[in-house]
Symmetry: C2
Subunit: 419 residues, 2 copies
């Protein structure tokens, strides 16, 4: 089911038009639509994997990095996982129509604040076909149409996925224009999407810090910034060694390539002789390169000297920065300077220090005595995740379905006028 | 109490620095700070009125319109009203520290989502000294620092107000850098404010459609768009004449210059012969010019012919557009095309029509049988109003104190790691 629209702008207008009916669908209609999409993706698995093969071949020729090729790659089992994710999203409760506030004015006018779909959700992301399916499914589950821009490296894969999803909508009697891609318009597609204020209601960029920066800077559509994570763990004077070691190692090595992995460990000076040697040893035993300051280097073997650049780096690899600070104040100063406001955790047995850290650190998720890897929609029990917002407007931290809704006030009267 | 900062950027950084302590103030400290500000404004009334006189004199010389001069003008009683508004805001409940969600993960990690201040709130507005005081008071009440850009026409008035407010903070032992103006940097001040992403957390433009458009287009700081109102009332076939006439007249003439005043009336064709003549007569009796289509002109006297431009116009004056449409579908089409998504109301006794209108109109506030003039933070019982958001991200409709807060997730564990 391909569209007749010949420009990116036309496709977005078709999405806007389709969003009206999508927004009025009942819970079970949206659920059925998603189950249909899951089936259609499975049915089209061969076609999707073939299209992916063409993208991969082109990637090899054009010198796409191994890491990006791996992210891009779909085989039959990865396609099955995409379909399974759609079924999981289908099973989530409808986020639309929740009553968020109710009040009756003295004159009898009744006011109800309800959750409503945004209308059209846009997303700009890079070479990750799973995002194509996730965002489309999350958008539809919350009653939105969607405009996708997944990058030219994944253009054929995304086209095959979008074709399958649109076909499923047709079978369900739903306007297929609710799912649009603008991949085939290259950079112009992205530019049109960023300037489609009044047509696209919200834009979620996902990908590199540079991509997000570009979208935030160039978009006139309201953006939800999802984010880079220069994530910190502070080891307080009272930190038990086992918590400190286990949490730092878990937060670094369980999945180093993601935004909630720790990048910098700050050790309070009085605890450094006790904690630095065993924590460094545990990290090195897992193959982690520790970039440390002079004090860290004086306490442990095999330290790579850290520069100021290390404190600002989101490694996303088996590297970690470690610095000794005089006290909690200096740790908080360091975090204020270098944090990307994603997640920070303190390991401590001092309740006053824990509560001060929780109150003063200005990040989406602030923890005491837990691994930063818990900052995740799935872990938080949201079922699925649009992304992790590092901005303060609208949504902060892991975003579930309800973050893809807006609100509307309904007023019901019997002829009241304002006096 | 003047600042030592010599650039707009430096002032914003001082506001950011000050926001840390402001965000941690207890409820009663913030309340006392606002009461101190109210007193300081009254004490400085003479100085403020004198400064305002200088602005007005300059306005007369430079040809500022009478309407803008009137908005700009402060006398002793208007200054007293400013102080009274600050006391009203002081009396509102603290929007910070509310627990919005709580959950305990299977592994025992406890999660709490709490409301927190944004940090630094910026506002760009035009020649309205009351906004200077309102926004500063609302920002402080919600634990935020504030950066104000009120326009060169009100520069001296705003400087006097900011000086009084900052002096009150010093007396309360609060860092006065929490209140900043960048008026004296002219357009550069506004530009710096719009580009202060990472320093200013949210920017609220208030004023003309053109000003808001500029801020939305040029700002990399997240913006809450407050809005223009091309507001519609639909008179359904079943609309009682008295409701129709009273609500249209009230919505037009009670305060024509504001965004929630009605601009266009759409009359369903079958009701037109019954409703158009008396509604037009009632409007004309109040001095309203009715810009009508041919059908309206055939049914009532004294109609000015309407053009397409009228449907898109926010008159903000004693003018109104009136059009006859075939049915509710055509009314909804018209609204989709011309509405600015602020407020629309239907007058009807048909519950199915009312509910369809409430469900399908995509505006911040959708009404049945009530005057559009009720879209107002004060009327809604919010106590004070930051503005009326016409966007869908973060806030929609009248914004109270809670819309000046963000959220933060707090996680408390005992050494848990992700498996």
């Amino acid at each position: 089911m391909t569209t007749t629209a010949t420009t990116a702008r036309e496709r977005m207008l078709l999405a806007k038009e389709a969003s009206r009916a999508i927004g009025l669908l009942r819970d079970e209609q949206k659920r059925d639509a998603l189950l249909g999409i899951a089936n259609a993706i499975e049915t089209a698995a061969r076609e999707i994997v073939d299209a992916n093969g063409e993208d991969l071949e082109r990637g090899r020729v054009t010198g796409l990095s191994e890491a990006l090729q791996d992210r891009l790659r779909l085989d039959e089992s990865r396609v099955a996982a995409l379909a399974a994710a759609v079924r999981d999203i289908a099973a989530l409760p409808d986020p639309v129509g929740r009553v968020l506030d109710e009040r009756t004015l003295a004159n009898g006018v009744s006011l109800t604040k309800v959750s409503v779909p945004f209308g059209v959700v846009g997303s700009i992301y890079e070479a990750r076909p799973n995002v194509t399916v996730d965002i489309a499914a999350l958008a539809l589950r919350s009653g939105n149409a969607v405009v996708l821009r997944g990058g030219s490296a994944a253009e054929r894969t995304n086209a095959a996925l979008v074709k399958a999803m649109r076909g499923a909508l047709v079978e369900q009697g739903i306007d297929p224009e609710a799912i649009q891609t603008v991949d085939d318009f290259g950079r112009d597609g992205a530019r049109e999407l960023m300037q489609a204020r009044g047509v696209v209601d919200v834009l979620v960029p996902r990908g590199s810090a540079q991509l997000i920066e570009t979208v935030v800077t160039e978009s006139s559509v309201p953006v939800i910034e999802t984010g880079a994570g220069v994530v910190h763990i502070v080891l307080d004077e009272s930190a038990p060694l086992d918590w400190a070691r286990d949490i730092v190692v878990n937060a670094k090595i369980q999945r180093p390539s993601v935004c909630n992995a720790v990048e910098t460990v700050l050790v309070i000076r009085d605890a450094a002789p006790r904690l630095v040697p065993p924590v460094v040893e545990a990290l090195r035993a897992q193959g982690v390169t520790v970039h440390g300051d002079a004090t860290v280097a004086s306490l442990a073997d095999g330290i790579t000297p850290a520069t100021d650049e290390d404190w600002a780096t989101e490694y996303l690899s088996l590297d970690i920065a470690m610095r000794v600070v005089d006290d909690l104040d200096e740790a908080l100063d360091h975090i204020r300077r270098y944090s990307t406001h994603h997640t920070e955790s303190i390991i401590t047995q001092d309740p006053a220090h824990a509560e001060r850290f929780l109150a003063e650190v200005d990040s989406a998720v602030v923890m005491a005595n837990a691994s930063t890897r818990f900052t995740d929609g799935g872990e938080f029990g949201f079922g699925a995740e649009v992304g992790i917002s590092t901005q303060k407007l609208h949504a902060r931290g892991p975003m579930g379905l309800s973050e893809l809704t807006s609100t509307k006030w309904l007023a019901r009267g019997v002829g009241q006028v304002r006096v």
